[in-house]
């Protein structure tokens, strides 16, 4: 395994998709995210790394306002997608989440057929006018998630009957079916075996062409393999953010270096 391999990826100057300024998150009295400022670019894979409990998942969930569902959670600061403040009073989180898709740590397909899993998002957002269009959307999403060949003959089979890796790719298909602009992934491979992980990673790299992908991961090798930008979180602070190869080869901050060399975390 080329664990330390760092992809030679051309990183051009791209437009900023998500801009976060002075973001603070409290869970009750617990200050979980402190002063995070970050610019996430379009058509780029950005990896969030850091030890457990450092706030990387919390910050990820701020980007599509999934934290709204937690009563005691309070978010201040400014997160803008394409210049629009997503915490503005006028923003409906439902519309935001259609634009910012999310894939979770544990594969969580609906206990319905594979087809219905993918078609659910387009249906509730009214993306298709008829059955044929919906079929097309489902097929395109499944193809994009690189699972079409495996499931095309059994679209009516329950999604929960697939293997773990297939389930996760089905969840990715479900997320991309609603045509989001940003795709958030919260440790998408932590429940998968190495082969399924490799498939999902390959997929992430392909998805980069259409989306801005933000991925939280515990595996530094994975961050190095799939991302162009990496952000290192520690104890609620964004310690360092930059080009992935720079973070892994020449980190500026002492804590980053300690983490990637395995001394903290």
């Amino acid at each position: 395994m080329k664990d330390t391999f760092i992809a030679e990826k051309d990183v051009d100057q791209k437009t900023v998709k998500i801009a976060a300024r002075d973001v603070q998150v409290w869970y009750g009295d617990n200050h979980a995210i402190k002063d995070v400022n970050v610019d996430i670019e379009d058509k780029t894979v950005t990896a969030f790394i850091g030890p457990s409990g450092c706030g990387k998942s919390t910050f990820l969930r701020c980007i599509n306002r999934m934290n709204d569902t937690i009563d005691i959670c309070r978010v201040t600061g400014d997160i803008r997608i394409d210049g629009e403040d997503i915490y503005d009073r006028k923003v409906d989180p439902v519309q935001l989440r259609a634009k910012v898709g999310m894939v979770f740590q544990k594969p969580n397909p609906f206990p319905k057929s594979i087809y219905d899993n993918v078609a659910y998002g387009p249906r509730i957002h009214g993306l298709s006018r008829n059955k044929a269009e919906l079929d097309e959307i489902v097929e395109r999403a499944l193809k994009r998630a690189a699972i079409w060949n495996e499931v095309k003959d059994r679209l009516t089979a329950p999604g929960t009957g697939l293997s773990g890796g297939q389930q996760q790719r089905l969840c990715i298909a479900r997320a991309v079916a609603t045509e989001p602009e940003v795709l958030l992934m919260d440790e998408p491979c932590s429940a998968l075996d190495p082969i399924a992980t490799a498939q999902v990673e390959e997929l992430i790299d392909e998805l980069r062409q259409n989306y801005s992908v933000v991925i939280v991961t515990h595996s530094m090798q994975q961050a190095a393999r799939v991302s162009q930008k990496t952000a290192f979180f520690h104890l609620g602070h964004l310690v360092e953010f930059g080009e992935t190869d720079k973070i892994f080869t020449a980190p500026e901050d002492e804590r980053t270096e300690s983490y990637i060399t395995g001394r903290i975390g």
Partner: protein, 444 residues
């Protein structure tokens, strides 16, 4: 740290033990486990024993209610007799007198070698006058030609044939006398008194205290049915809506905590309290009719709601949060997430809770006591759907309670028979619950 530092020094050396010899500690542990298993089996055996005793005693005491003793006679009523009987003050008495005369002459003609008189025949029959009058008023074309009737015998005759009344225990009274037993034996030999399946018990309505032979549970089954309809239609939507709101939407604060505690407490409130509440609110304040299945249903709804809310909340809670996340993640609104994904998954639990609540309500007597459904004699069926809700009626458990309180020993048998019917209903409901749960669980 090295291994050497552990083994050095005065550490006690552990004696080597054979795997073949069981040491004291293990023996104690195994004994404890064996004891525990024995307790468990003993508990189950005890439970089974009582269940079997209960089932056997219910079936033994209740089965006689499903058959009854009938006196089978051929009767010919002329038009003049009909007109004459209808003109009298006590019309059914007039029919009875005619019938008894007819039987008497028929028996004399057959030449039975026992002593009997008209009064003896009257004691053997239940209350046949009403049945005859109803028949002839409805079928006037039968006048003037012989018609075969199977009339319910008096309850003492029934008791004599089922063994409840014996020659030793019989006390001469206006109901039955020792000499009548010879007549009964003779009539049984002559196939005039026989036993038949008592459809009237299942289909019929209640009778007065003096005619246990004609009493049936049918009308109160209808009463129970309308009550359950009210309970289902009100408590299921209200209960499910309340639990969905509390579980999925309501903010967690002192106020919702208070509501939660109150709902749990309501589930433990004795049902008679709901009865008195129903009396005060529905009958005295809202002026709804007494003894009506509608009011009974409303009271039982109050009683069932906490059960449904608690079980619904439990089954909503058991739906994994990842499903909610998944739905919200693709941009479903909170309501869409709940109704498209959470609710279908919680359905089996909700249905089970609802049917358990309904079953509880079906067997409830105490609250019905206070709104006048107990002691009410449901003499007939309601005329229609509307009157099914608002006309006074009884309910199955109330009917059983009423029968059990009556003096005539045959009503005791009816009460047990009613219990069998009630249990059959509960069994049916539980089977429906199991089938529905299976059906919905497959969607996982």
């Amino acid at each position: 740290m090295s291994d050497a530092s552990l083994t050095s020094g005065a550490a006690p050396t552990r004696a080597k033990k054979s795997l073949m010899a069981v040491d004291v500690r293990t023996r104690k542990r195994n004994a404890a486990e064996k004891r525990f298993r024995a307790y468990g089996i003993a508990a189950i055996v005890t439970g089974m024993f009582f269940l079997i005793v209960l089932a056997v005693s219910i079936v033994r005491s209740g089965l006689p209610a499903f058959s009854h003793t009938v006196v089978s006679v051929e009767f010919n009523l002329t038009e003049e007799q009909f007109a004459d009987a209808e003109s009298q003050l006590f019309k059914t008495k007039a029919y009875e007198a005619l019938l008894i005369e007819e039987i008497r002459s028929a028996l004399v003609a057959r030449g039975l070698d026992v002593e009997f008189d008209s009064d003896a025949i009257a004691r053997l029959l239940g209350k046949p006058g009403g049945t005859l009058r109803e028949h002839y008023r409805a079928n006037e074309q039968d006048l003037g030609q012989p018609v075969r009737f199977e009339l319910a015998a008096a309850s003492r005759v029934d008791g004599y044939l089922t063994g409840r009344v014996t020659r030793d225990t019989l006390q001469d009274s206006r109901f039955l006398q020792g000499s009548d037993l010879d007549l009964i034996d003779a009539l049984v030999d002559a196939d005039i008194i026989t036993r038949a399946f008592n459809w009237n018990f299942i289909m019929g309505a209640d009778t007065g205290v003096d005619n246990p032979g004609g009493a049936g549970i049918g009308a109160s089954v209808i009463g129970s049915f309308f009550m359950m309809l009210v309970v289902l239609v009100l408590s299921l939507p209200i209960g499910v809506a309340a639990s969905i709101y509390l579980e999925e939407f309501a903010p967690q604060n002192r106020f919702t905590d208070l509501i939660e505690v109150n709902i749990s407490n309501l589930a433990a409130v004795p049902s008679i309290v709901f009865g008195i509440l129903g009396l005060a609110v529905f009958i005295q304040f809202m002026q709804l009719p007494q003894s009506a299945p509608l009011v009974g249903g409303l009271v039982l709804t109050l009683m069932t709601l906490p059960t449904i809310i608690i079980s619904t909340r439990a089954s909503l809670k058991s739906v994994p949060p990842s499903i909610r996340d998944a739905a919200l993640g693709v941009g479903a609104s909170k309501m869409q997430a709940v109704f498209h994904h959470v609710l279908p998954l919680a359905m089996p639990g909700i249905l089970t809770g609802t049917i358990i609540g309904l079953a509880q309500a079906l067997g409830e007597t105490a609250p019905l006591l206070l709104i006048g459904m107990v002691g009410f004699v449901a003499r007939g069926y309601p005329d229609g759907v509307m009157s099914g809700f608002v006309d006074p009626n009884s309910a199955m458990p109330a009917q059983i309670y009423t029968w059990a309180a009556r003096a005539d020993a045959s009503f005791y048998e009816k009460a047990w028979g009613g219990i069998i019917i009630l249990l059959l209903f509960l069994l049916t409901m539980n089977i429906i619950a199991i089938i529905l749960r299976r059906k919905f669980e497959r969607r996982w």
